[in-house]
């Protein structure tokens, strides 16, 4: 037991605080949110948090890995619920100086691993599996949780995965993930979407990048939306504007380095200049 601490997590408008005497739990949880801040419990905070959690005696809650995994799931779930006024997609997002690259795809497709590899190659990090869209004009906003990598993803990254944390969080669904904070974070501001990239992993195939019709890209974005029925016509309008302002490609690949090289080539790989992460403002 130590003095009580509070972890402040901000994911766009959503703010969570997690209170605990167990610094080990909060430090592990902080690794899941690159812009999180660990503060003394009496640190003032300007806005009331959307979610306020208190972690009790961990020895009665089970393994720290499970506690952290459950807290992370609770925070992410609450953040998604709080951001329903935005159009949300299952998608990884990285950025170059020209704008964002959106990679829609179902869970298990390898988005997080590819996003991690792209970030290690110099792309700025927005999110590994949730794209937050707003507008007009259409922009994608960061969902600044750390890249969550399963064991296969860590293996695939190989030497590029050197910065992956050793701690393993166990999610409520039993999956085990390790966290990676990419070297270049996007900050909190939205960016226009410059590229939409449909992923198609095929064993043994060399990486190829081919243009796809924007109508198909729109269909893919809509199919991977988390809350498009809630937004209806307006939501489709935002997605349409996204693809109309973007170059749309399908990336077929099996090996990460080739995929990164193909993407770097098409985007020009111009360095991104990010703004500083903003957190809870002092009172």
């Amino acid at each position: 037991m130590t003095a009580p601490l509070v972890l402040h997590v901000r994911l766009q408008e959503f703010q969570a605080v997690v209170r605990s005497h167990h610094s080990r739990v909060l430090e592990r949880l902080a690794a899941a949110y690159p812009a999180a801040e660990l503060r003394p419990a009496d640190c003032p905070c300007a806005a009331a948090p959307s979610l306020d959690l208190t972690v009790g005696a961990v020895e009665h809650l089970g393994d720290v890995s499970k506690v952290v995994g459950h807290l992370e799931a609770a925070i992410n779930g609450a953040a998604i619920a709080a951001l329903q006024h935005r159009v949300l997609l299952h998608a990884g997002v990285v950025a170059t100086a020209d704008g964002a690259v959106v990679l829609p795809g179902r869970s298990g497709l390898g988005k997080s691993t590819l996003v991690a590899a792209l970030c290690q190659a110099g792309f700025a990090y927005f999110s590994d599996d949730i794209a937050v869209l707003g507008g007009p004009p259409p922009r994608v906003f960061p969902f600044m949780k750390a890249v969550s990598l399963k064991r296969g993803g860590v293996r695939a990254l190989g030497d590029r995965g050197g910065a992956v944390g050793a701690f393993e969080a166990i999610r409520p669904d039993g999956s085990v993930v390790r966290h990676l904070t990419p070297p270049r974070l996007a900050g909190s501001n939205g960016r226009p979407v410059r590229y939409v990239l449909l992923l198609d992993r095929r064993p043994q195939d060399a990486a190829t990048l081919r243009p796809v019709p924007r109508a198909r890209a729109l269909a893919e974005l809509a199919a991977h939306s988390m809350n498009l029925p809630r937004h209806g016509r307006h939501g489709l309008e935002i997605l349409s504007q996204v693809v109309e302002g973007a170059d749309c490609y399908e990336l077929t690949y099996s090996r990460l380095p080739e995929a990164v090289e193909a993407l770097a080539g098409v985007t020009g790989h111009r360095p991104f200049v990010g703004d500083a992460p903003t957190l809870c403002e002092p009172r």
Binding site: A215, L218, A222, L228, R233, L236, S240, E244
Partner: protein
């Protein structure tokens, strides 16, 4: 369950697009989004043209006639089969008001 897409009668009532379907044209291609079923459809040019005629003012037979008039030289029987299949698909997908 197998669904026959060639079963739509061409002498049926006038066909009308469902209000719950949102449309958008992107680079000349018609995209439909069914807000109730959360499904997206990208129309080919023929399907898009037929979709436009599902305005509540055309029966399936009238759609066929319009298509035959538009594309001179096409075989009416072929058009009837295509229109019947496309309208059947629209119905299966819930894109039309019944």
């Amino acid at each position: 369950m197998a669904v026959s897409l060639r079963s739509a009668p061409l002498d049926g009532a006038r066909v009308r697009r469902s209000d719950r379907v949102v449309e958008r044209v992107v680079d000349g291609e018609l995209v439909l989004y069914d807000t109730a079923r959360h499904r997206v459809h990208v129309m080919n040019p023929t399907a898009a043209w037929i979709w436009r005629l599902c305005d509540g003012g055309h029966s399936p037979a009238a759609v066929v006639s319009a298509l035959v008039s538009r594309y001179s030289g096409v075989d009416r029987a072929t058009v009837e089969a295509d229109v019947g299949e496309i309208l059947a698909r629209f119905r299966v997908e819930g894109l039309l008001d019944e």
